[in-house]
Amino acid sequence: MKRSLALAMLLTLGLAPAARAANEADYKAAYAAAEAASKEAAGMRNQWTVTVSSLAAAKKAADAGDFDRAVAASKEAEALAKASIFQAASEKEAWKAMEIR
C-alpha cells in the first residue's frame, strides 16, 4: 500500500511540470515560430485562410491573458503553415499528374 502511494506521488510529481500553465514567454516563442512559418507560406503564394485565423485566435487569446489557449492556437497555426509549405513544394511537380494530355 505504502509502495503504491509512493509511486502515485512520484507519478504526480513527474507529470506536474508538463501540466503547468503556459506563460507569456511560452506564447511569444510559439507565436514567433508560427508567424515565421506563415510568412514562408505567404512568400510561396500559398497561404491558407485557416493559418491566418489561427494566428488571429492566438493573438486574441494572449490579449485576454489566456496563454494556454494562445500557445495551442499558435501551435495549430504553425502546423497549418508547415502543411501549406509542404503542399506548395510538392505541387511544384505533382500538378502534372492531373494535367489533361
Partner: protein
Amino acid sequence: MKARTALLLGSVSAALVAFALTSPRVVAADKVDPVADAKAFQNFFFQKFPNVKREDFVNGPYSMNADMKRQWQEKEEFPPYEFALDAGKEMFSTPFKNGKSYADCFPNGGIGIRQNYPYFDTGEGKVVTLELALNRCREANGEAPYSYVKDEMASLTAYMAFTSRGKPMDIRIPDDPRALEAFENGKRYFYTRRGQLNFSCASCHVQSPGERIRAEILAPALGILNAMPIYRSEWSGMGTTSRRFVTCNSQTRAVPLEPQADEYRDVEYFLSYVANGLPISGPGARP
C-alpha cells in the same frame, strides 16, 4: 578479358539506346504546345460528355443537368443580369470628364471584341484581361479605377460580353516565349492544389463536372469563362471573373491573391485559349 569488354560495350550501347529512346519523349513532354493542349482539353470533355452539344459547354452546370437547364431557360426570359446589362450600356456610352469614352480605348469601339480577351501584350510582356484593360482605360482618361470584384466592373464587362454573344472565343498566343510562359503558368495554376482542402481548379471542374458539391452542380472547365461575368443567386448579384477566382480560392481555404495578380491573368489566358472556338455566352446566370 574479351568477354568483359563485350559485356561493357553491350551495356554502354544498351544505355545509349535507352537514352536515345527516352530523351525525345522528355523534351516533348516539357515543350509548351498550346495547340495540342487545347485539342486534348476539348477532346477530354467531348469524350466525357458525348451527349452534350459542343457549344453547350459554355452554359456551365446547365449543360450537365436537364432539369436545371429547363429552369434556366425559363429564367432567361427575364434574366437576373438585365439590370447590370442596362447599367453597363449606359456606363459604356457615358463620356469621361475629359470627353473621351471607353470606345476610344478599344478596337472597333469596344463592340463585339470580348472574344479576343485576354490577350498577350508583347510590349508589356504580360497578359491583359478585359477587366484590366477597362481600368487602364479609365486611368488613362483621368478616372479612378473600379474595384475588380464589384458591380461597376461586372456591369461594364456584362455589356461588352453581350455585344459578343455567339462569337467564338478567339485567343491568340503570339510567337513570343513570354506568351508561352504565361500560358504554361496559367496551366500550372489551374492544376495546382491549394488551400487546406487540397483542391485545384481541376479537382472540381475537370474531375467532377456534373457532380454535386453540396447543393451545387459543378460546371465543366471547358468554356467556363465564356459566360463571364455572371449573376449568381448565391451572391444576390453580379460577379466578375476576378471575383470568381477569388471566391474559388477562398472556398478551398486558400488565401486569395490580389485581383488581377499575374497568376489570375495567366490562368484566365490558359482557360480562354483552351475554349477557343466555343461561343461567348456572357453575361450568364448561375445558381
